[in-house]
Symmetry: C2
Subunit: 485 residues, 2 copies
């Protein structure tokens, strides 16, 4: 299921092997079509909210208002609006801020239910990739992209990996929590020792930790990684330092040759092309040396598929240190090949560069979880347990949405989310308590917005053991209307 399906290209002159559409021979056209349908379906659902509410607003004093509004909403959004929000319009005025927030939350909820019920990206077909990963010498792939919304599609789109097979832990600037990752490493090791999952502890495989830093080829000095002041070298070095700290922690903390494998990946957020810094046999990585998928694409696009694949492998080897691990080279070649499809996707669907070079998120996601967010620039993330620790990220989010929403009179919709392990008694209640505490702290920090009806929160939890969808446990919209608007 992971092998890209591709069109059979008849043998021909090398010049003529080139696909008339300009796509790479290894590009997964079916996959691209499926990903495009998904992206358009979800983005459209969010994009329609404002125009629909504008139409409905214009009708609010019509005699037949409620029926007309519901009919428009059902047609354009696919769902009914809450009756009580419409019912009062004739006497006062339609509260469009509340209605807008409600529509964003409802669209999010429907997207999420679909994600967990129908697996629209095939992210939970993980068997083939798990086997391939182990063949390459790794029993767990743990990826930290920057928490920037422009990397939210890194697993499912940029790298074309099944999200269910990869641990994704985004952090601002790629600066992941070392202690937390050591703890996760230990958990995986224990699973291997106790239960032979994903393989037994005597198999000579390693835990692979990867960070994806990012940069902007279109506007490098302004649209790079905000956490590193759009300084690409600092972003790469910061990520590398954190990776080395993680390996050092495992090696210092455990004897018997405990170690882990590391992989540093750079992403151009305009083209979605990656570059991979392949480690040498000792695990050293060189920031000035990398395999560049855009160059690989250009060099191999006129070849036939079999030759192209062989050439990709050669190019990876040629741009890697001589002592690089063969399994690592295989994995990197696969990542590069997968990324060729995404390069063509951005070219075909987005004209080579994304139109939204900067921020264009539809809501903030705050807390821990959000596996269902696999689309670029849909969500601004702040992964945190408390406002106290995450204040800086939240303030950045407020600034972004002040430009996107508040400046247009629209509220900032925030999804507060905590995943929990259903097998742990009391874990759900603790997750709900966390949601409520975070909600109160958020409402306190941004009281000026909340008082004006410009901040709305949906509180959700999810049992990550059950593989089920989310559960809504609260919403600022169900509270009595706040004054001031």
């Amino acid at each position: 299921a992971r092998q890209p399906k591709r069109a059979v290209v008849p043998a021909a002159e090398p010049r003529q092997a080139r696909d008339p559409s300009g796509q790479h021979p290894l590009t997964d056209r079916d996959g691209n079509a499926r990903l495009q349908r998904y992206e358009e379906r979800i983005k459209t659902a969010f994009d329609r909210i404002v125009p629909v509410l504008k139409r409905i607003s214009a009708l609010q004093h019509a005699s037949d208002f409620e029926r007309q509004a519901q009919s428009i909403a059902r047609d354009a959004l696919g769902f009914d609006l809450p009756e009580h929000m419409l019912a009062d319009a004739w006497v006062t005025q339609l509260d469009l801020r509340r209605l807008f927030a409600w529509c964003v939350f409802e669209t999010y909820r429907r997207m999420t239910d679909d994600f967990f019920a129908n697996d629209p990206l095939g992210g939970h077909e993980i068997r083939d990739f798990d086997r391939f990963l182990q063949d390459c010498g790794f029993h767990q792939l743990d990826v930290t992209p920057c928490a920037d919304g422009r990397l939210a599609h890194a697993i499912s789109y940029v790298l074309r990996l099944p999200c269910g097979a990869v641990r994704r832990k985004p952090y601002a600037g790629g600066l992941f929590d070392v202690e937390n990752t050591v703890s996760k490493w230990g958990e995986v090791e224990l699973g291997r020792f106790r239960e032979g999952i994903p393989n037994t502890a005597d198999a000579p495989t390693r835990y692979l930790k990867s960070v994806i830093y990012h940069y902007s080829s279109v506007d490098p000095h302004h649209q790079g990684c905000a956490a590193h002041g759009s300084d690409d070298a600092a972003a790469a070095q910061g990520a590398l330092d954190r990776l080395l700290a993680f390996r050092q922690s495992v090696e210092n903390g455990f004897c018997c040759g405990a170690s882990v494998a590391l992989l540093l990946i750079g992403l151009d957020t305009d083209t979605d092309a990656i570059r991979v810094h392949v480690p040498d046999g000792e695990g050293h990585m060189d920031l000035t040396q990398s395999v560049d998928a855009l160059k690989v694409h250009a060099i191999t696009r006129d070849l036939e598929p079999t030759a192209a694949r062989a050439r990709v492998a050669e190019l990876v080897k040629a741009h890697a240190p001589a002592s690089a691990d063969p399994g690592m080279l295989r994995l990197v070649a696969r990542l590069i090949e997968n990324n060729l499809s995404q390069i063509d996707y951005v070219r075909q669907v987005h004209g080579g560069h994304y139109a939204d070079v900067g921020h264009a998120e539809h809501f903030m996601g705050v807390g821990i979880g959000f596996e269902e967010i696999q689309l670029r620039n849909l969500t601004y993330f702040a992964y945190l347990y408390t406002v106290e620790e995450g204040a800086a990220d939240l303030d950045v989010g407020r600034k972004i949405f002040s430009g996107l929403n508040v400046s247009r009179g629209l509220p900032i919709p925030i999804v507060i989310r905590f995943d929990y392990h259903g097998g742990v008694p009391g874990a759900r209640e603790r997750a709900v308590t966390r949601c409520r505490r975070l909600d109160a702290a958020l409402a306190g920090r941004f009281a000026d917005l909340a008082d004006r009806g410009l901040l709305h929160r949906l509180l959700v939890v999810r049992d990550s053991d059950a593989g089920a969808g989310i559960e809504v446990v609260g919403c600022s919209l169900t509270a009595p209307t706040a004054g001031g608007h």
Copy 2:
């Protein structure tokens, strides 16, 4: 080293076997003397601060003030006062609030340095106890006392266990963090699989999690566990529920018969006598059934040591379910026997009941760590990472010290502390950052106190891997004097 040394009592009539001092034949007299010296030395050091400062205050306009003050401090406290705090007294007034906080912090620092350098309680002689514990069928003892300062001496005094051999994790009301404990359990299991530490994974031993709840025999309705509204049954049930949730979590999360052992202990904070709810063979515990050390003391005090020890074991067995695990019975008998010494300690040293039935702490300890605090009612603890999560505990602390200190015009001294693993690169810097963030949040929450000079903080970190002492990384006293006093 763990076997209590005891006086040899000559054979005699049962009536006359009774020790003239009224002490139990199994009481560790040398141990009691050592513990008493330690308690008096430390408590005296803190108790002397106020009288010494009163004497010094009375001299502050004398011509020879600085020399006299230093001489008094050196004599009574064992250290010099900071010269700059004395130097300005002639022109304005001696800032006794700052001087008081400084003395508390200095006394704390000296106590802590002594603890880690000299092991005054022998808490790091752990070999014998570790072996005994494994003989009983347990490879790790993890104890959660209530965070109440009246249980801070539970390991070293009440249970007479070497603190270095026991994981102590206090929580308000004994309501420990299940997720954190499962994670610790996994870490210990991994150590057994990978490194055979403390024993190999195939040894049929279990992780033993214990909670100590508490009650007050002198004033049961007011001086019980505040977290449970002084409702003893609720305190016991709350602790039991948390223990069962922990076991359930391990059993649900891991197959292959993963499980843990549980033990529930009650403590009378007036007499330091314990009662132990011994689990049956299935691990069930009955809140209405327990072995009561005070009764065991009364029943066995007239026997000779050998007979007394045998009788203790019989009494434990008689008050435990018939199916109780033999190793568990051995361990409980040891805990009861150890506690007999503490019962006599409280009788001899404190007249049978502590004079300080309620709060009498000298400072607040906030953060994570504090292994060196092994004395009753010295410290009010708030174990937390952020003010946001720990606000309730901090507010209780403020209330306590408003009565103890602020009402007398004295500031609340707070030690902010985070331990870290030195083997993890960057861990020290992150611990320091945590200290600073918590300090800022504390100063914000209690700004009214801080502005009046009634809140002072010492910031310390400690490398728990190195076994070394604490490192002071900041102090509100080194900042420019706050206005308003």
